[in-house]
Symmetry: C2
Subunit: 338 residues, 2 copies
């Protein structure tokens, strides 16, 4: 396919920075009128269109989407990206798109792989996962006019609202809020939270959901005492649960940031407390505790809509609301029936 | 790539069945001398070579392997094929091969997909998973001269030893035998087995490993009493464990055909008995019970050796011996430390 003009080309022709081009596209009011006019002229001259390549992808009969397969994460929630890959492959197949897998040892290596795949015309679009603060991959793709969607918000950078950065994410805050509200609705007030150590966007959002629900219920006077942190292992979660139960003798329920943490709480309390996890993994089904489901089918659907520029919603971002799956009919640990 | 002569072409030219060609290649002694000569002449005339395409794959700079992504299996062991896919993608990348994913709704649909991918020159080889009795997919690939390897034995059909059907499988019988022996080595004699209902090749092999170990230890007088079957869910495994413990009051240990069954036994016995599972899933790590690891890195390595016709071993089959991962330092359920 012929090379499409990129935002980089527009910036060069207009003699401005890429950020200014971005501002003209997204927040024209903050750009001086003469600069704005110069950028708009460059856009017209070059025929630059933010998602021309997405439209092209949609009109092709059979196109290929490249996606990096991360190294296997050997935790209980490690299969989430695999479940996303299943959903994406099935839905892509249905619209004539195929998935090409590759691996990379670092973000820089992944960028080299992008270059190789683009040069060889092996793929027509990319899906990125595991986004992080200051991710250099999206900048490269934007600079090179590539069609892409990230599963994950562009944490902490200013293209949060950039039209050229299409992303889909799950609203973890809303999910944990719903989980907490389900415990409050059962009449509990001492609802503890088992979270990850502060500093990850995902973890902080999930903790925020618990805080929101507790605050809305007028129970925000005691939040520090009701919270414990642990890294994402069952062993760490058991220790944290033990500390929490030791400090809050009349603890009534636990909301956890993941199913690994939830499993630790279930095992440590021997099923004596209601526990809600996050990710709705096979373990939550097997052990019978409630969990927040990320609705990965909806995520995959939104990714494909954005990639092919189809669907009624014209925004370039989708925040999927997860769903609380309530389980209570199977107590996790019961006496031997024999 | 030009179309290679297939076994079908050889059969047509020689005026014999495909089975006869297969016999000439694999068991020449059972074929009448004049027929054998006619087939050998056809093979020479056509330049037919059972793994010519595998050799070609190896010499290409960048080739693509097609693999069907099965629908997500929502059980504890459901991630095994995903873990294989990770291992395969990483090792393929290292030798310049890429993985193209597709989906199919049935074996017949998968064969249609093969045809499409071959016609479009989209892939140069296939990896098949989830083989079953009378699998029509391998026959199609052999007939069409395609390079392929199956992860899984060709259960119950006569190309078990066919040079044209390359396969890799894990020796589940050896794995369960090792698991059982580890319990016998601890001095236990009443080692129960939680298996799947009879009739699946995989399940029967695993049960056979337990029988082998018990028989070798002179403990085969009581096998029926020590065995219970359950479908692969934690709930069914809990009921089966309860029946087993009720019948064998002095039960000392449980060996299970899967980690789902093992988890059921651990939960039902509240961690009071040593339990060994199969698949070394994240759940076995998290709960701290021993489990048999399929060594999927070794499986992926063998698949790639067979696909590229490299490596010292000239046989077309590999049976990988799994490895028992022993865990005992973390009792699965302990009293609350608070």
């Amino acid at each position: 396919m012929p090379k499409l003009p990129t935002v980089h080309d527009v910036a060069r022709v207009a003699g401005v920075s890429r950020q200014t081009v971005s501002n003209v596209l997204n927040s024209p009011d903050i750009v001086r009128p003469d600069t704005r006019e110069r950028v708009q002229r460059a856009i017209e001259t070059l025929g630059y269109r933010p998602h021309a390549s997405a439209r092209r992808l949609r009109t092709q009969k059979s196109s290929t989407i490249g996606i990096r397969l991360d190294p296997m994460v050997d935790g209980i929630s490690g299969s989430i990206l695999d479940r996303f890959l299943h959903a994406l492959t099935e839905q892509a197949d249905a619209v004539g798109l195929r998935i090409l897998l590759f691996t990379a040892t670092s973000p820089e290596d992944e960028i080299r792989q992008f270059g190789r795949l683009v040069d060889g015309s092996d793929v027509d679009a990319f899906v990125l996962t595991s986004t992080f603060y200051g991710d250099p991959r999206t900048e490269w793709l934007i600079d090179h006019g590539q069609t892409f969607v990230t599963f994950g918000r562009p944490w902490g950078i200013d293209d949060m609202n950039d039209l050229r950065h299409s992303w889909v994410d799950v609203d973890g805050r809303a999910g944990v809020r719903a989980a907490t509200e389900s415990m409050l609705a059962r009449g509990f007030t001492r609802v503890g939270f088992l979270g990850w150590p502060s500093g990850s966007g995902t973890g902080d959002e999930r903790a925020g959901g618990w805080q929101d629900a507790m605050t809305a219920a007028g129970l925000d006077h005691d939040l520090d005492r009701l919270r414990e942190n642990a890294v994402d292992t069952v062993a760490a979660a058991r220790e944290a649960s033990s500390r929490l139960a030791g400090r809050v003798g009349d603890l009534e329920a636990v909301v956890a940031a993941s199913d690994s943490l939830a499993l630790g709480a279930v095992v440590q309390t021997q099923g004596g407390l209601p526990v809600v996890g996050f990710d709705n993994t096979p373990v939550s089904t097997a052990m019978g505790f409630s969990s927040v489901d990320q609705r990965l089918d909806d995520v995959a659907h939104a990714v494909l809509e954005l990639l092919t520029d189809s669907g009624a919603d014209t925004s370039r971002h989708r925040l999927v609301t997860p769903e609380l799956v309530v389980r209570s009919s199977h107590p996790p640990v019961v006496p031997d029936a024999s």
